[in-house]
């Protein structure tokens, strides 16, 4: 019984990580209708940026991420402004092709610079610290921080979207690009700001990715898959749905692993398929999509 309870708790905590992977993707799709195939690689890229900041400046990863945040915001803003804005239009294919190409460039660029060696963000004692809950169950401090960060990111994104003028512009642009321009909204700038914010979320996801496990330049596409599944399970256009989607995915994986360790990844994909069959629009779809 304890084993199952433990699996549930660890599943929810793992879901926090998947929700962080997915939140940036959800934001990009929500505002730009952009399906970003390079999302996983961007998370890995951000992890390397944090790694470099941590090693060169001798910083703790939690401090290094603060240094990396503004840098990544600017990279995201520029990427959207210079490259991705040119791909968006009626045709869905160009952004897919360009982000796919970006994915390959990032992977190979990182391989070139950092080699295929596994890396890790070293955070010291906190990496192995845990809080005993009694009954032989304990939660790791880093997984707990991951989930709390995911909730904080979702709350932050909801505040930005529903409580600020820029959030109104995000939603308006997403609703009707043409009429948004009639309101004086420069959609290219709005998209660039949204991408900058998405990169901030990516940086936070990268911090926990790099602290929880080893990473190397090739692991991006698998993170993209989890992120996609979390967004689709949760329902497009809802940040809380994305959090729920991440948790469903995390739960399915840990429960699958509890039954048989080989089933971990498969169970996650099966849960995704099940949601697609039962609720094709996800658990919490936005009413209008």
């Amino acid at each position: 019984m304890t084993g199952w309870l433990d699996a549930l708790i660890q599943g929810v905590l793992l879901g926090g990580l998947y929700a962080l992977f997915a939140a940036g993707l959800s934001l990009m799709f929500g505002v730009m209708r952009l399906v970003n195939l390079a999302h996983g690689d961007l998370i890995v890229l951000a992890a390397f940026v944090i790694l470099v900041a941590a090693e060169r400046l001798g910083l703790d990863p939690f401090v290094a991420v603060l240094v990396a945040l503004p840098v990544l915001f600017v990279i995201g803003f520029a990427l959207q402004h210079v490259l991705l804005n040119r791909t968006l239009g009626r045709d869905l294919l160009p952004p897919l092709l360009v982000t796919f190409g970006l994915s390959i460039i990032i992977q190979n660029g990182l391989l070139q610079i950092f080699s295929a060696d596994s890396q890790r963000l070293r955070a010291g004692a906190i990496e192995t610290a845990s809080i005993p809950l009694g009954g032989g169950i304990a939660v790791g401090v880093v997984p707990l921080l991951t989930l709390l960060s995911a909730v904080a990111v979702i709350v932050f994104l909801n505040l930005v979207f529903y409580r600020t003028p820029i959030g109104r512009a995000f939603r308006a642009t997403s609703d009707d690009l043409e009429v948004a321009q009639l309101m004086g909204i420069d959609h290219r700038r709005i998209f660039a700001i949204a991408m900058g914010i998405a990169f901030v979320v990516i940086a936070i996801a990268a911090l926990y990715l790099g602290m929880r496990a080893n990473f190397d330049p090739t692991i991006g596409p698998a993170r993209l898959l989890y992120a996609f599944e979390a967004v689709i399970i949760g329902g497009l256009g809802s940040f809380w749905g994305t959090l729920a989607g991440g948790i469903v995915l995390g739960l399915a994986q840990t429960i699958g692993a509890r039954i048989d360790p080989e089933w971990q990844i498969l169970a996650g994909h099966l849960a995704f398929l099940l949601v697609l069959v039962v609720r094709p629009r996800g658990l919490f779809p936005r009413a209008l999509d």
Partner: protein, 233 residues
């Protein structure tokens, strides 16, 4: 004094030419109405002025300045606001947010504020927190006009604001027009309802298949002239 002028205005959708050399003027404080059958190019004309369709710079002039090549987001800042056909409120914004986005990113200067718009259309205040799809057609139209007014335009372009509405609602919406004009706003109306169009217009332009087929003051135009300009001979 001429506020807005189009000269040899053309517009294309891909290879299809929708407007052929349209010459019009709008004086300060004036209301003009564009009439014509479906597909005559009326909406295209408004879109070309608002910057949604761009052409040569000097095909549209505002205060004598060429604006024909400017983007829509710039043109609204110059004081030209469009109420688009079919209302097109933002469905994921509340009514009040729809109004607020009308002046996005700009300091308000001018008579139109949230309170003034609510005074013009009191029902919007009651429905301020509602989602636009839950509003009636008339209420949606009021919100769309209010949203455009929030930018404090010098020129208000209205595309088929009576479309699909009951006559009593149309009368309601048109009764707001004098208050809008009283603030010095010039108005360009695209209207299928000829009777309504004649009632409010200082001057009328009729389009036929992308060409200007008639122009004049309502009192000076005969039924036959309008009929011919509207449907062709």
């Amino acid at each position: 004094m001429t506020l807005l002028q189009t000269r040899n205005l053309t517009a294309f959708y891909g290879d299809f030419q929708a407007l052929y050399g349209i010459d019009t003027t709008l004086d300060a404080g004036e209301t003009i109405t564009i009439i014509g059958a479906n597909g005559a190019g009326k909406s295209t004309f408004l879109k070309a002025i608002a910057g949604l369709i761009r052409g040569p710079a000097d095909s549209v002039r505002l205060d004598g300045q060429p604006i024909g090549a400017r983007a829509a987001a710039d043109i609204v800042k110059l004081g030209v606001a469009l109420v688009p056909e079919g209302r097109r409120l933002f469905p994921s914004l509340t009514v009040e947010e729809n109004l607020l986005i009308g002046c996005y990113g700009r300091k308000m200067s001018g008579p139109w504020t949230l309170d003034r718009v609510y005074a013009l259309f009191p029902i919007l205040r009651e429905r301020r927190s509602s989602a636009p799809p839950t509003l009636s057609g008339g209420q949606q139209q009021m919100a769309a006009i209010g949203r455009a007014l929030m930018s404090n335009p010098r020129i208000l372009l209205c595309d088929e604001i009576s479309l699909g509405l009951a006559p009593i609602i149309i009368a309601d919406i048109y009764s707001a027009l004098p208050q809008i004009k009283a603030e010095g706003t010039s108005v360009v109306l695209v209207e299928q309802d000829i009777v309504q169009a004649m009632k409010v217009a200082d001057r009328v332009y009729c389009f036929q298949e992308g060409r200007l087929s008639l122009e004049g003051r309502p009192a000076e135009l005969t039924r036959e002239q309008i009929h011919r300009a509207y449907f062709g001979s």
